[in-house]
Symmetry: C2
Subunit: 126 residues, 2 copies
């Protein structure tokens, strides 16, 4: 059942996933979807990101290691990004201020080639 997300490279909300499952004939309850997503996220199987609407978006990533995302804000597709320079920079800056036990969040948003491409007007309309 963890295979639910194995197919998509797009960040998906619990509500979305639930709706899609019902469409596919899986009569699964919303509660169950939430429980599974939370479990998988806790287990490090899924990456979680909170969008501006306060929704949690989930995605299965190729690596369990620390990484960031380049997310298309039109279609939601995300590319995994590694940024050793950034990690180092964050550590350095924080250390310079005397901070310890440092963590950080970083996401990049943009319009992906597919969404900007043929209908490039879309990216201008907004």
């Amino acid at each position: 059942m963890a295979a639910l997300l194995a197919d998509t490279e797009t960040f998906t909300s619990a509500q979305d996933l639930h709706a899609r499952l019902r469409e596919q004939g899986e009569p699964v309850g919303l509660t169950t979807v939430y429980r599974h997503l939370q479990f998988l996220a806790d287990a490090g199987e899924l990456d979680v990101v909170r969008n501006d609407d306060g929704e949690n978006l989930y995605r299965r990533c190729g690596t369990h290691q620390h990484h960031h995302h380049l997310v298309c804000h039109t279609c939601g597709r995300a590319v995994e990004i590694e940024g050793p320079e950034i990690e180092a920079w964050a550590e350095r800056v924080a250390a310079a201020e005397g901070f310890t036990t440092i963590t950080h969040t970083l996401e990049i948003y943009g319009t992906c080639p597919t969404c900007a491409g043929p209908q490039a007007a879309d990216s201008l309309r907004k």
Copy 2:
């Protein structure tokens, strides 16, 4: 009334601010606090950050320009950070994937010297 936040360098939630105002004798309504915060944020007077609990935290910053924050997750105090290298890196990475109209979010979290200092044990206990 915008002066409500002029005093703190800490990210504050609407609920918090409301509670603090009541304590200070200002019998202001929660709705009003929300409305003012939203207005100020829209006007670019306040920086907004969403925490893990899904709360919006607000802070008055020294500059209206694009910058990031180094936030203490114990006391909430935040230091404004500039990172030209990061901006450039984000642009470069996104462009390399063909993304356009790029934006990004970046926050660094840690324990500030004051919170880690004398009672350094705190930062180990967690």
